[in-house]
Symmetry: C2
Subunit: 223 residues, 2 copies
């Protein structure tokens, strides 16, 4: 596990031998990796667990811009901006690797592979953001939530009972809805026996039904 490639096909040892300072970090729920506006010193790779990237409106309302899973990178915006664009908050017990940004910068100039790897991750992030835009722009609450649950499940293949460290406010902040509305829909899903929930774990009982809901649009009843 310690030997698996953590970034750009390189594992911890190899990165270290290239002069990179790599630090293993263990976090638990609620830990703040960095806040919006912090000067960007480190980037991270998420080895296990889950992290949310949060942006706040002047108003105090928070929006979750992206949810990170095992294998995702974060904090790399520091390669161009001096400061972090959002806050990174740990959702579930996680293990991360912390990389020094300045050294990463130098490394990427020497190793095109690294540069390439970073670009690739950025494209992934962009794609997921664009998908999210579609969800927010075109679907209704029920469909957004259904889509989201199915996507979440994809991150834990061959697992019946999924880790699900998201609170209702979290879900609301990610899906652009009110806490109450999310709660109502989740309760509905449970009543219809589409899902089952207990102590931070989620089980999807009727993926088929959720998939139908996910593809249902405001303006069109398929029958």
């Amino acid at each position: 596990m310690r030997d698996r490639s953590i970034f750009a096909g390189l594992n911890t040892e190899e990165l270290r031998s290239l002069g990179m300072e790599v630090q293993d970090i263990a976090c638990h729920q609620g830990d703040v990796l960095y806040r919006k506006g912090d000067s960007a010193r480190h980037a991270y790779t998420l080895r296990t667990g889950a992290v949310k990237l949060v942006k706040s409106l002047e108003n105090g309302r928070e929006v979750i811009i992206r949810l990170l899973h095992r294998g995702d990178l974060l904090g790399f915006e520091g390669m161009q901006d001096a400061q972090h664009r959002h806050a990174a908050i740990v959702l579930a017990p996680s293990q991360l690797c912390r990389l020094d940004l300045a050294e990463l910068q130098r490394l990427s100039e020497r190793l095109p592979k690294v540069q390439e790897a970073i670009r690739q991750r950025w494209q992934q992030a962009l794609q997921s953001s664009e998908d999210h835009i579609m969800e927010l722009g075109a679907k209704r609450a029920e469909a957004r939530l259904a889509t989201f649950l199915l996507q979440w499940a994809e991150h834990y293949p061959r697992l019946r009972s999924l880790p699900f460290p998201l609170s209702r406010p979290d879900l609301a902040a990610f899906l652009g809805l009110s806490t109450e509305h999310v709660s109502r829909i989740m309760a509905d899903f449970k009543r219809h026996a589409f899902i089952q929930e207990q102590r931070g774990h989620l089980e999807i009982l009727a993926p088929q039904s959720l998939a139908e809901l996910a593809g249902k649009w405001p303006d069109h009843k398929p029958d």
Copy 2:
């Protein structure tokens, strides 16, 4: 104008001398640069004009994922995906440069500067997508529209009358609203003399008022 750097600090001549096939292209409204699913052969830089990137839901409903302005790049997802992720449609008379993706790929492996430049643009795109997510997730229609108009204006500094090639359906598809609702709000803005519109041109009369609206949130009245 022909000599200005079009990409990664290189102008047309320099790119050509590096073996890159560069083609100047002139387009007008409605031209389709590529469609979603087209195999990705070319990337483009937008020299003047405006382009929309569109994704369709299975339902037929269209969402504008991103709006491109002078200096923006498009089609670069082809460097990793074999196919384009969205359709690119020209909104206003535009001049573009078309680059061969395969050659660009090779070039970027030889020139770190190019790789770097592409990564930078990707980050910009990601940032703008994330901002868009915030708009869709946290603001109401009036505020979204106000924000959008002000942002649009920023792309045409020192211009009183802005080119504004967006139809109401376009605005709706970008802001995640219905055409009618957009129309109503725009009419409101005109009645309040915040803006003025004529034949594809827009004038912002009261940026201050729009800015106030843009910062107004559903749950909080500032007074």
